[in-house]
Structure formats: structure tokens, C-alpha cells
């Protein structure tokens, strides 16, 4: 499939940091739906290609550490603070469903790679993300991002 005119190669933005454990938690602010995932995947497609090929993806964060900015607590309390609901599958669950987690941009951001934006693929992703749960950090006294 042709890549959109003007899309940027994502390759230079990929870190060398595959999640070390299938037990790591993946976090995505929700709630998601097929329609939303389609919109987001197509936004990524419009902006990026991968090595000159079409690329669909959806952003997530991965709890890589026990403490610090890449810990689950920090991701939920800081990066996900505006989300009342979050999807929290494990890395293993995403991999078992056949999804690749590309370590993109700054740590601990990842992009779930999709093979297309068709309904079947998006439904597989929605199922892999699982139900959205309450973000217990939502609405607490916010802490500003260090940026």
C-alpha cells in the first residue's frame, strides 16, 4: 500500500528497548472503541511510515521500572492523570495476540504496530487491550510533568 505523501520515517525515532518481560504492564488511556482506534491508527499512518512502508500504530506506555517515571504508578499518576479509565494489558498478552511493541520516541512510550486499519485488525487490538479499568490516580492532586 502506498504511503501518504509527506509522512515521516519512524525508524530514527525507534529506541533499542524491547520490553524485557512479558509481565510488564502496558498502559493506554481509554476507554477505547473500534472507531477511536481506527481514527488514531490512521492519524499515525498519515504522519509516519516505517522504512518507506505504510505504518499503522497506536500509542501506549510500558511500565518498565519499579520506581521512577517509567513505573506503573508514575505512568498512571502523571502521564495518564487526565484519564479516568485505562487499559492495562501485559506485554505478554499483546504479544500473544500478535502485536509488536515498537519502542518509539521517549521512554517509556511504545507504539503498537498494526498490519492494517481494517476492522478485523482493530477488533483484535481492542480485545488484546482488554476492558478499561478505573485509574485510581485520576482526580488526585496532580503533579506537574517535568518538562
Amino acid at each position: 500500500m502506498a504511503i501518504p505523501s509527506g509522512s515521516e520515517d519512524l525508524r530514527p525515532h525507534i529506541r533499542d528497548e524491547e520490553p524485557r518481560s512479558d509481565d510488564f504492564v502496558v498502559v493506554r488511556g481509554g476507554p477505547d472503541s473500534l472507531a477511536k482506534l481506527a481514527t488514531h491508527a490512521r492519524r499515525t499512518y498519515r504522519a509516519f511510515n516505517l522504512d518507506g512502508a505504510a505504518f499503522w500504530g497506536v500509542s501506549v506506555f510500558c511500565a518498565l521500572d519499579q520506581i521512577g517515571p517509567a513505573s506503573l504508578d508514575s505512568i498512571l499518576a502523571v502521564r495518564m492523570a487526565t484519564y479516568g479509565l485505562v487499559h492495562t494489558p501485559t506485554v505478554g498478552r499483546m504479544r500473544e495476540a500478535g502485536f509488536e511493541l515498537l519502542p518509539t520516541f521517549g521512554r517509556p512510550h511504545y507504539t503498537v504496530r498494526l498490519v492494517s486499519d481494517d476492522d478485523e485488525e482493530l477488533a483484535r487490538l481492542l480485545a488484546a487491550l482488554g476492558p478499561a479499568d478505573l485509574n485510581t490516580y485520576h482526580g488526585r492532586t496532580p503533579r506537574p510533568r517535568r518538562r
Partner: protein, 86 residues
């Protein structure tokens, strides 16, 4: 019902570390200028954000957003407190 100024996936982050989206996804692009406070995201998960910059890229104009702390209801309460009828 929440009216979103600019649709975005608030999970999206690029090399700047800020949330990004396309300017043409704004309800009224003229209000999405650097420094402006906008409502971003979607109706299920809106967030108050500040426009950091608008960057021209070959794929379109990219808006970077800094998510501000608190929810929309916090800002509503703030405005109610601050602005009292004369």
C-alpha cells in the same frame, strides 16, 4: 456535552515529549495558536491543554500540546469562583 477544540489521542507522544495531533483536526483552527488553552482529546476523555507550538511538516501542520493538571470540571469550578456576577 463536552465540545472538543482539537481531536487528539492523548496517548500520542513524539520526539518533543508532548502530545501531538494535526491542526486540521481542530474544530476552529484559528483558536489553536501557541499559548492558547484548549480542550483536547475526545468527548470520553477530554483534557485541558496548552498549545506549545504549531509545526509545519510535509504531512500537515502538527500541533504540540502540554496537558495541564486537573480535569475540565476543576477549571469550570475555578472560573465560577473567579468570575462572580456584578
Amino acid at each position: 456535552m463536552v465540545m472538543i477544540d482539537i481531536a487528539a489521542d492523548l496517548n500520542d507522544e513524539d520526539e518533543t515529549g508532548f502530545v501531538w495531533t494535526f491542526l486540521d483536526e481542530a474544530r476552529d483552527p484559528s483558536v489553536v495558536v501557541p499559548g492558547a488553552i484548549v480542550v483536547a482529546g475526545d468527548a470520553d476523555a477530554p483534557a485541558v491543554a496548552q498549545v506549545v507550538d504549531v509545526i509545519e511538516k510535509p504531512s500537515g501542520k502538527i500541533v504540540h500540546l502540554r496537558l495541564l493538571p486537573g480535569g475540565l470540571e476543576d477549571y469550570e469550578a475555578l472560573v465560577r469562583r473567579a468570575i462572580t456576577p456584578a
